[in-house]
Subunit: 169 residues, 2 copies
DNA sequence: CTTGTATATCTTGATATCAAGATACAGGAG
DNA sequence: CTCCTGTATCTTGATATCAAGATATACAAG
């Protein structure tokens, strides 16, 4: 019996009038995300990196050359507010992993550019991070992994989680 | 194509040497938890409640009479640190939703007791919250809901997410 | 050109959270 | 009784985050 199953049992005794079935699924979604995050953080920490730092570096890295996105594009990719993006860029700039470059044509826009150091760090951590993710998933059987992936993909579609930028231009 | 699928495509072009398959599943887990949380927060906000406030009240409520848990039990149930628990209790005490009661036998222990007002608020919000969760899940087909639930349950088992207190004593 | 509206980023202030350590108490060994 | 170790809660300081608003710029309408 997992933790959420226990909570469901408690509710069934205390509130038999309410069907808490939906809570079982969504409760697990939230708890599993938190538990997995702890494991991801551990590997990033071994490389002196915060999870959010990798998130920024990886966003820039996977965008391809010239490894540059605007602050607004980072907002949308990482699902954070503009204030948080400003803070993240400032921190990473201080570590020498990114640079700010004002757009010449539209002076409102800031291009965030991955430095060579930033790219090096990102690439150095990447394989270990993916291996960690794989190890987590391999705690489950292959069939269950498939169920989970299909279920989450369906939820992503249902919630309309579309790419922030057009898929290829 | 959902957002994560797009990210996977980007990686396949930039890092064809790395198999980013695990990132697809875990990336979705994290994004879906965040997207769902926004929707849950919206309903709580309609009742002038934070998500974490409901989390505390509901933990006490479902524990059954006398609706009391120790601070440590709350730590473990909600997967937060003791400092955060102290903060949450203090806030909810200020709103009159819980009370602190020192244990007579073991003076280190603090019992956190749900007040009548706290129980009333919890019960008032509960049905709306569950309805909201159900509405979210019903954006997917019944088959996909089943896949998701089974997949998440398997992950919970794999990660050893056991109940914080013994299931029935 | 000027004016108004929309957009991109940054600033400010508040807050939830954590890590680490402090404090207080319990319970056993001698 | 005294000491020691373990445990429960709280405190402190740092930090990431958000909401709301400020600032600067773009661009269209007249």
């Amino acid at each position: 019996m997992d933790a959420v199953e226990y909570f469901v049992q408690q509710w069934r005794e205390e509130r038999p009038d309410i069907d808490v079935e939906p809570m079982a699924t969504i409760g697990r979604l939230s708890r599993m995300a938190a538990l997995v995050q702890v494991r991801l953080d551990a590997v990033f920490a071994q490389h002196d990196l915060q999870s959010w730092e990798f998130d920024v570096l990886a966003s820039l890295r996977r965008s391809g050359q010239p490894y540059s996105l605007t602050a607004g594009e980072l907002d949308r990719t990482m699902m954070i507010t503009s204030g948080t993006t400003t803070h993240r860029i400032t921190r990473l700039e201080a570590r020498g992993f990114v640079e700010r470059v004002r757009d010449e044509d539209d002076r409102r826009v800031v291009h965030v550019l991955l430095t060579d150091a930033g790219r090096a760090v990102c690439d150095a951590v990447h394989q270990a991070h993916i291996d960690n993710e794989r190890a987590i998933l391999e705690l489950m059987g292959a069939d269950d992994r498939e169920l989970l992936t299909r279920g989450l993909t369906a939820l992503a579609e249902a919630l309309g989680d579309v790419p922030p930028a057009p898929p290829k231009r």
